[in-house]
């Protein structure tokens, strides 16, 4: 364990605390959250009662500390509608979202990385232009529209795939494609840039000058060097996949966290929305940390800080 990672760990802890603080204060942007929690048309007394019940009549700083303390005990509160612990509700939906996100990640990485490498290596060829067009389409397709088109074509017209819901392995394919497309495009672009950057470095002709074939240079030198920016972007992109699931799950009636979030907003079930946002941010921060750990494994200049 070196200093670099310790520092990053501390930074992540600060980021988590910052996120919690931000979410706490966003909730108070509109005055106090009781208004958000009650159905429209609630009476003054209802509001007052709930305020006292939930402790919103106390000083803000006291509320904030309480809030942090509650989260530290991993307590996300109670759902206002279902009267169940938010943690349990989220836990029951999380596996579906993880399943979908993992499938989308396979699509995104499986296509994005090789396409990106090809675009860089085959620069200025017809193949590159073709791939660029492919990536641009992936990048410009709104997720919900591509989802609808996929349903229309494969489920309604061809009838080879289920249109919605979870029913066996087949059902994850279409949502995974819809969700993975944008991430695939991002991976392809980042990989292309990273590989192009490495291709322009002095060690490339030098490695060729010692007799390595171009392919060998790509595989044994360039890809490893290009990995660092890709790892960094991966963390951000996986977090974005989770967020993108909100729309895709709605389109495909996928019973994950995204659908839960949309339903909860409609039902003004605020503790659940907040729980999902906090979970998403926590995952994102953890992924960033993981990326930095990987980064330091790949790059000796960080791993061996202080040895030189």
């Amino acid at each position: 364990m070196n200093r670099y990672l310790l520092r990053r760990l501390a930074q992540s802890a600060i980021a988590v605390l910052g996120t919690v603080t931000l979410v706490f204060f966003i909730q108070r942007l509109a005055g106090d959250p009781t208004l958000l929690m009650l159905p429209e048309g609630a009476t003054r007394e209802d509001i007052e009662t709930l305020r006292r019940q939930l402790g919103f009549d106390r000083p803000v700083i006291e509320q904030y500390l309480d809030y942090v303390w509650q989260l530290l005990r991993l307590d996300l509160g109670q759902s206002l509608v279902q009267r169940l612990a938010v943690g349990d509700i989220i836990a029951s939906r999380l596996p579906y979202t993880l399943y979908l996100a993992a499938a989308a990640l396979v699509v995104a990485l499986g296509i994005g990385l090789p396409v990106g490498v090809l675009m860089a290596v085959k620069r200025d060829t017809r193949l590159e232009r073709l791939l660029v067009a492919f990536v641009l389409i992936g990048q410009s397709m709104p997720t919900f529209w591509s989802g609808i088109l996929l349903i229309l074509f494969f489920a309604v017209t061809l009838g080879v795939m289920p249109a919605s819901g979870v029913d066996g392995f087949h059902s994850v394919i279409l949502p995974a494609i819809a969700l993975g497309a944008l991430t695939m495009a991002t991976f392809a672009r980042v990989t292309r840039t990273a590989v192009l950057e490495e291709l322009s470095r002095d060690y490339v002709p030098a490695a060729q000058a010692k007799g390595l074939r171009f392919r060998a240079v790509v595989f044994s030198h360039i890809l490893r060097n290009a990995a660092t920016p890709i790892i960094t972007v991966s963390a951000l992109e996986i977090a974005n996949l989770l967020a993108g699931a909100i729309i895709v799950e709605t389109v495909f009636a996928w019973p994950g966290l995204g659908q839960l979030a949309v339903q909860s907003i409609a039902a003004r079930d605020f503790p659940i929305v907040q729980g999902i946002v906090l979970l998403g941010s926590f995952v994102a921060i953890s992924l960033n940390l993981l990326a930095d750990i990987l980064y330091s494994v790949v790059d000796p200049r960080i791993r061996l800080e202080g040895r030189a």
């Binding site: 002709p205 060729q208 000058a209 010692k210 171009f214 040895r307």
Partner: protein, 326 residues
């Protein structure tokens, strides 16, 4: 003169529409050291890269032949050319630290060079690498083998590069500004090392440099480049004694020296090196040349024998060189 080891005939390289190397011809005998000297943008590095068939993406081969030991390099397929590199001819570069893969221990990078050409075990290759590191004067080579480029100084990295280049005993070493990025005292070490290895192995050298001092120290023969062309070529002592092209003469005169008068006006070459896309017609030096006449502005002079058969210059007005001394 016996058969040349390297023969370059009418080599041209283009970037876009600009011919940045324009009809360069030269030859190197076995064991000989030829220096290509010139300012940045004169095409000397691209000439070297074209010989290696390692041109940067923006540049492309635009004509001419390169023959090494009787084999035409341009006729080889990509894999056969890769096999030639590192074994028949190899190259070291200007930025030694950047020329090594930052994520790989230097020992493995030398081993890679061995394994590219010899069917041998990793262990055997590592032994060779170790011996080679010792040969290039790296103290404590066992420890150094496991270190990464960022842990070594520039001079050390250049020694590693030299080890990589020479480990398969090539007959030609192309050294592209090998000491430019290094400090003077380190430069002296590296130049001494290259001279020693050359004596021991008999490798021929194509030295690319802008430094007239390095040329005077290292080369048997010199080719002076300006604007993508060789403007003067000759044996080193003869060329320093007498220059047959105004560019060479003015360049040598403009250098401040470690002897002679101080705080005097240095002689200059007027104007600046033009952008490589706007070379003038005729002799490319004509806008800056005090001897230029009308013909220089329209017709490019060929590289022809000037002082004697072995001393060539590309100038119409070689006979008037003495005017530059006034």
């Amino acid at each position: 003169m016996n058969a040349p080891l390297l023969l370059v005939e009418d080599l041209s390289v283009a970037i876009g529409a600009a011919r940045v190397v324009d009809g360069v011809s030269l030859s190197i005998a076995p064991g000989e050291a030829l220096a290509l000297v010139g300012e940045s943008g004169c095409g000397k590095s691209l000439t070297a890269r074209a010989i290696m068939r390692l041109l940067p993406p923006a540049a492309r081969h635009a004509g001419g032949r390169v023959t090494l030991d009787g084999r035409e390099l341009g006729a080889l397929d990509a894999d056969a050319m890769a096999d030639m590199r590192g074994s028949a001819l190899s190259m070291i570069f200007q930025e030694p630290v950047a020329s090594l893969d930052p994520l790989m221990p230097v020992g493995r990078q030398i081993v890679e060079a061995v394994l590219a050409h010899r069917r041998t075990s990793r262990g055997e290759a590592a032994k060779l690498a170790l011996a080679m590191l010792e040969e290039v004067g790296i103290p404590d080579p066992v420890r150094r083998m496991a270190q990464y480029p960022f842990e070594l100084s520039g001079g050390m990295c250049q020694r590693v590069m030299i080890a990589i280049a020479l480990i398969c005993r090539p007959r030609l070493l192309i050294a592209d500004e090998p000491t430019t990025a290094l400090d003077v005292t380190i430069q002296a070490q590296i130049l001494a090392l290259i001279k020693r290895l050359r004596r021991e192995t008999g490798t021929a050298i194509l030295l690319i440099t802008h430094d007239m001092g390095v040329v005077a120290d290292m080369a048997d023969r010199i080719g002076v480049m300006y604007g993508g062309r060789i403007v003067e070529q000759g044996e080193v002592f003869a060329l320093f004694r007498r220059q047959c092209h105004p560019y060479t003469k003015l360049l040598l005169k403009s250098l401040p020296s470690l002897e002679g008068e101080r705080r005097t006006r240095l002689s200059t070459i007027s104007g600046t090196v033009p952008d490589l896309h706007s070379w003038p017609p005729g002799c490319r030096f004509n806008p800056r040349c005090p001897l230029a006449v009308d013909r220089c502005r329209t017709d490019a002079p060929p590289l022809a024998p000037a002082a004697d058969a072995a001393h060539l210059a590309a100038c119409w007005e070689t006979a008037r060189m003495a005017e530059l001394d006034r």
